[in-house]
Symmetry: C2
Subunit: 348 residues, 2 copies
């Protein structure tokens, strides 16, 4: 196979203040690297745009390593092995991993997928479309599964509220809660999204939170949608949206903190309601979730989700941009809620 003579990469050109701009990124041309002994070269078919990446752009360590200016943006990729000096991987096989926003990536074949590790996993295109490995069958799927079932233990009949409910994680979390027999209320930012989650995904109710200009106003809509209060809150956003939900928790409510996207995109972090005010009286539990802690159990989630996709209980939707040069735009669009379902960038 003849390869082109350049590897286009997306690098950090400037540290974003608040919401990233396209000018915070640049396309860099590099030579395609040659795999060394034991290494393989992967050609990206899809890049993934995920909210967690935003945190890596801060100058102060949050979690994960701080990205330096000029460095290739860390992100996930699914692609095809095009050269291999590793007996474990054959040319033509597909792999997924933290191989960053570039057209070609070198891997040493390691499968360690902990917080800082770029380990890869094989992807079987006969089981599902390869890009599912970045979404429902990848970290977003594992996140939705364990953050909901392990951290929140929802029971049939309980009310579950999901923010960012039309996103990759939220749309799956809500469907999982429906499978569990819960009453599910989702928050999203457009009518197209609220229609999708109620009509196609079976959510019991949806709230377009952009209609409300304050936590207090949103809380009114939440009260109306959750007459028996909220037993489980799957929090993808934090910020004022979460503060429009948390005062309506039920006794013994469980809150899982999966994301903080409202705050991540603010240059000055907004102050929040006092958590003691809703935590103590309701005997609520609020727990932080990082998917890497569940990597050792990821197959449990993947197998369950794959079965439910096959049985029609879980529906998958993707928003796909094309061409590596459009990756920053797709990422920013995703941060602004422009996606429905998983945001991908298709390169091949």
């Amino acid at each position: 196979m003849t390869l082109p003579n350049r590897n286009r990469q997306i690098v950090l050109a400037a540290r974003p203040e608040g919401m990233p701009k396209e000018s915070d990124f640049a396309v860099k041309d590099s030579p395609i690297p040659e795999p060394g002994p034991g290494e393989l070269l992967v050609r990206a078919h899809y890049l993934s745009a995920d909210p967690f990446q935003r945190m890596r752009f801060e100058a102060q360590a949050n979690y994960g390593k701080v990205l330096q200016l000029g460095e290739v943006i860390r992100g996930r990729m699914v692609g095809e092995v095009v050269r291999s000096n590793n007996p474990g991987y054959k040319v033509g096989e597909f792999v997924e991993g933290m191989l960053n926003w570039q057209e070609y990536a070198i891997s040493d074949g390691s499968t360690a997928r902990a917080e800082y590790a770029p380990g890869i996993a094989k992807v079987d295109p006969a089981i599902a479309p390869i890009q599912y490995s970045l979404g429902v069958l990848g970290f977003p799927g594992v996140t939705a599964y364990f953050a909901l079932f392990d951290c929140c233990e929802p029971k049939p009949g309980e009310t579950v509220v999901v923010s960012s409910a039309a996103g990759a994680v939220g749309s799956l979390a809500g469907q999982l809660a429906k499978i569990q027999g819960c009453r599910v209320v989702g928050l999203a930012s457009t009518k197209e999204k609220t229609d999708w989650i109620t009509r196609d995904l079976g959510f019991d109710a949806a709230i377009n939170y952009t209609k409300y200009d304050s936590s207090e106003a949103l809380l009114g809509a939440i009260r109306a949608a959750c007459p028996e209060r909220i037993n489980v809150f799957f929090d993808n956003t934090g910020g004022w949206i979460a503060d429009g939900i948390l005062p309506h928790l039920a006794k013994n409510a469980r809150v899982v903190v999966v994301g903080n996207i409202v705050q991540n995109n603010r240059a000055v972090k907004e102050k929040r309601l006092d958590p003691n005010s809703y935590i103590m009286v309701n005997r609520a539990t609020m727990r932080g979730f990082i998917v890497y802690d569940y990597e050792h159990r990821a197959d449990e989630a993947r197998h369950a989700i794959a079965r439910w996709i096959k049985s029609g209980h879980i529906k998958v939707r993707e928003t796909v941009a094309h061409g590596i040069e459009n990756t920053p735009k797709a990422f920013i669009s995703m941060l602004n809620g422009g996606n429905i379902g998983k945001q991908l960038i298709k390169l091949v």
Copy 2:
């Protein structure tokens, strides 16, 4: 036994805005009630001043019933049975219960001690001073024991931070954490208190938080006192004090929210740090605690604490006011941190 002809009671004269004033209370003379069939009359020896009472003064229900203007302040009492039409209680026996701030109280002898119930429990003066039933062997003791051991599961060598550490609950929580083999850091408001918890109670370090004028400044002292970060935070106060502690949580930290006294005494609630910022990345758990949920296990706590008092592992200190007319002053003093250990009002 001849009784006086009046029962002095403390009633709510005005709804406090922020920190209560003495004029928010009034002393009311009532006739001493006559116990009906199955009832008993209790003469108060000690009244209890507890932070939870503050919440009952709000016009909006928080937890517990809303107190109406003119009503006797709900609060705990230990006293002697002086009349009894109930075969389960003899004159001369001691009982403890939610019998309110008054010199004489009627009880129907019920032992139900759930959230809204005024049920009483017998107190054996041969085991411990009767007023311990309001402190280390009463609800404060049960709170410290289960909020620490059940909600936080501290392990030997872990760092435990306790706010309001010289109060009835905090001083016990810190001593229990020491018994468990933890490194314990306490926050209190005077040098006398920080000296007491470090010299007499064995805390490893103490911080006088009144030396710091912001959460950020307090955080500097917390960082210095907790070089390996904080595994367990026993939060009695909430507010800016908690925000000076929470950013220094360790991975997998446990926070138990036992009180909210900083905010309870503010007419306008202050906004707080975004909990998602410290909960998610640290995979921390924040859990709300209400002691009534543990009433069915209270004897487990009382027996353990009584043994540790006997063995010298737990030291008890009280701040005692005298005379029912001084109850509001003692209560306000306690809210302002004027007490060391359990705040009591001795009537007999």
